[in-house]
Symmetry: C2
Subunit: 109 residues, 2 copies
DNA sequence: ACCGTATACCTAGATAATCAAGGTCTCGGG
DNA sequence: CCCGAGACCTTGATTATCTAGGTATACGGT
């Protein structure tokens, strides 16, 4: 529907970290959570989701473990690490500073 | 200094359009304006700036004309077109919707 | 007269994130 | 028994930004 989402660049990782701050979840569920909480404004494509998860895992901000969902399907459960928690704080602050800066330019001053 | 600015992705064009909405300016001055208004939070590298200007020109949202600055240096003056004005309105609304969506995920709900 | 700094423009190549579009497998319902 | 949805994965294309170079001119200081 919408043209490809450039704005998402760089914020996806933060969205994932924040989602996991509520508790462990598997990949697919993370995407659904983000969609739900944002009232479907944010749609995370699987082609972005899984690479992002590997990225975060590689950096040590999340870790993964195979498990079972309630419906007994095999799922990869992701969990926020301590480093991930710290990173989330930094990234959230960055996001906040960035949006405030952009708003200074964009809003009728 | 700071790690490369991923968050800027997609917003740079909008920042430029908005800057030109205040009146014509040349490229270098656009970057300085954005830095000043954002209290130096936003630093636009020239390697991003000029390609962005060509992009916007190609899309018909701005147009350019060679002229002279007050200091008599040759400068390329950019001006917002009508299409650019319309685009600015759309992009600003998109930005607003996007940040609200992200905030729904990021802020303690 | 000279030199450094800031102004002002430009470009090639590297990096990196997202998306589109394919694929596999399993569970549950009709 | 089949089909849709859940759940995971990957390859390739696109695209934006940055790094790091380059040119040229004006101006201030010495």
């Amino acid at each position: 529907m919408a043209e490809s989402n450039e704005l998402l660049h760089g914020t996806l990782d933060t969205l994932i970290l924040k989602t996991l701050a509520w508790g462990p979840r598997h990949g697919y569920a993370i995407a659904r959570w983000i969609a739900t909480v944002s009232d479907d404004a944010l749609q995370i494509e699987e082609g972005s989701l899984y690479p992002a998860l590997y990225r975060l895992e590689r950096k040590g901000w999340i870790d993964a473990e195979w498990g079972l969902s309630e419906s007994k399907r095999r799922v990869k459960l992701y969990r926020l690490t301590e480093d991930g928690e710290a990173r989330l704080a930094v990234a959230t602050a960055q996001w906040s500073r960035f949006t405030q800066a952009v708003d200074k330019v964009l809003l009728p001053g």
